[in-house]
Amino acid sequence: MTITRDDIIDFVYAEARILDEGRYDEWLALWLEDGHYWMPLDYKQTDPVGETSLLWEDNFMLRLRVERLNGERTFSQKPKSRCHHVIQRPFVDEFDAEAGRFVTNTSMHYVETRLDEQQLLALTAMHELKLVDGALRIANKKVELLNSDAAFRSIQLLP
């Protein structure tokens, strides 16, 4: 299969839509087993584990996060939150068709709402995608919040 830049860009758009529609099992299936979802706490943080991050989650934690959302006794999700991504056209920063490795950089506005509260986060998402068995998968994802050092309310879903 030949991957084009449009395929890479379409993938990032499709992932955002899957999250907005709450299709989390499909979302987990996009990931490679050993991938990490990283959300740094500090502006330009370089070490995800030697100091606190907002998120540094492996497959087990992401699965836990998703299965918890479906639980009967997930009290902070009664009622459930909803989210909405508005994304700019991704930059394809690295395109290595031979190795099947692609890196994108995408500006987004992420809105999360529950009850009467709605919060808006501006962020840059970096996706490292790999071509495995003819399909694009997420090898790693990093989300840098514009105001990562602000005092947040709960961020319950996934930017």
Binding site: M39, L41, G50, F60, L64, E67, R68, G71, A151, S154
Partner: protein
């Protein structure tokens, strides 16, 4: 409200709801508790060099922690003595040899003393030198650095640091003993999490051992389910070590024990805790034994205090080198700052464990913290209900409890919450001559 009215709001085993909801009570506790007690400010490793400073709050009071040219740490009110402008606005920085007010350029040494005023001749014969403005940035009443942790008392007179904390400092001592060099260092900025509830709800929750298996079933229980579905692989995923113990039984938490000290301090995890069963970190015991000897190293690590509350508003987690600061911003608004520290001389894996715990449990993005916050905020809203006036903290209550002595109890007791309220009344109503006062 007069601070002396505080006694009417606390009846030993129950507390009036106004304690959590009333703006008048909030103002009174800022003037009572947060003026007369010793309050956490920061850590000395946040201001390692001369001129380094951080800005924070003691209760509702804006303050600066700064390293002066003599190497000492000063805590100054963050308020220009001229027109009131906050001198420093960054959360941290280095001011060099002096602070300069951005409004009229009055400048001050890093111990607060007034250094210079532009066009000073305009004050000739006006009597400026007789005013409080001429003294410069006002220092707080007293400052003490203990094991690197900076505490301050706003009031110029009152209870001494030693008497206020007493034997409760053993938790900080144990945390320092866990470093082969006996020192901690800050490891990155704190998580900052905004809660629409009263600050005391968060503090009380630190020794509430009857909620984890209920409120956190969604995260801890689900983690255990997933682990079983995976066939219980070894080594255990980090989430299983850190989150799963929240599902421990009531029996487990009863057996953990709770210790209370005078002046509102206390800790869960006397005998063991939910932190006791972490996988050993290669090379750490050896490094610690080289300093302490094997016997003491074992004793240091066997101390598995879960949450130590230092009255009024911080929690220290010794086995994980963490500190949580519950900063009151109003009767129904609290900023939580959760710090992790590095054990100097210990393997990096230790601070990685601390950071992991912090983001899994205390982050605004944490699935565990979400359910805690939900409970506090439902309580804040629920307490507006008329017809029920009192909050019950009666579990394992005994008539005539004496909080002036250390006590160890069943780990599900609410005695530590009662201990906090005993201290709350005492420091609300502090007049400088109350029993225990030292000048």
């Amino acid at each position: 409200m007069k601070t002396s009215d505080a006694r009417k709001l606390v009846h030993g085993h129950q507390v009036h709801r106004d304690v959590y909801t009333s703006h008048e009570v909030y103002v009174a506790e800022m003037r009572g508790v947060f003026t007369n007690a010793w309050i956490f400010v920061g850590h000395d490793s946040q201001t390692p060099n001369k001129g380094d400073y951080i800005t924070t709050q003691i209760g509702d009071q804006p303050v600066i922690q700064v390293r002066h040219s003599d190497g000492e740490i000063y805590v100054l009110y963050n308020r220009c003595p001229h027109k009131g402008t906050k001198i420093a606005i960054d959360r941290q920085g280095n001011t060099g040899k002096f602070f300069r007010c951005p409004y009229h350029a009055w400048s001050f040494k890093t111990n607060g003393c007034l250094l210079a005023i532009p066009l000073k001749k305009g004050y000739t014969d006006t009597g400026l030198d007789q005013t409080e403005s001429a003294k410069g940035l006002k220092p707080v009443g007293d400052v003490r650095v203990y094991g690197g942790f900076v505490f301050a008392r706003l009031s110029e007179t009152g209870i001494s640091f030693e008497e206020f904390f007493g034997d409760s400092l053993s938790t900080i001592d144990n945390m320092l003993d866990r470093s082969p060099e006996g020192r901690l260092e800050i490891a990155g900025p704190p998580l900052r999490y905004m809660h629409n509830c009263n600050w005391k709800m968060l503090v009380e929750n630190q020794t509430d051992t009857c909620h984890p298996m209920v409120a956190h079933e969604s995260s801890a229980g689900t983690a255990i389910d997933i682990y079983k579905q995976m066939g219980e692989p070894q080594p255990r995923p980090p989430a299983m070590q850190i989150i799963a113990p929240f599902m421990s039984s009531y029996d487990f938490f009863e057996g953990m024990g709770i210790r209370t000290w005078p002046n509102g301090h206390g800790h869960t995890g006397v005998n063991m805790s939910i932190h006791s069963d972490y996988d050993a970190i290669p090379g750490y015991f050896e490094a610690l034994s080289a300093v302490h000897g094997e016997e003491k190293a074992k004793a240091v690590l066997d101390e598995n205090r879960h949450n130590t509350v230092y009255f009024p508003n911080i929690m220290v987690k010794g086995p994980l080198q963490q500190l949580r600061n519950f900063i009151p911003l109003g009767p129904d608004k609290t900023l939580v700052e959760s710090y992790v520290y590095r054990l100097v001389g210990a393997p990096d894996r230790l601070v990685e464990m601390s950071a992991m715990y912090n983001r899994m449990i205390n982050a605004p993005t944490s699935i565990v913290g979400h359910d805690d916050m939900e409970m506090y905020e439902r309580a804040q809203e629920g307490l507006m209900a008329n017809g029920l006036e009192w909050v019950n903290i009666q579990r394992l209550y005994e008539e005539g409890e004496d909080f002036s002595k250390e006590a160890v109890e069943n780990g599900t007791t609410e005695r530590q919450m009662r201990n906090q309220f005993d201290a709350w009344v005492k420091f609300m109503d502090w007049n400088g001559t109350a029993a225990g006062a030292s000048e």
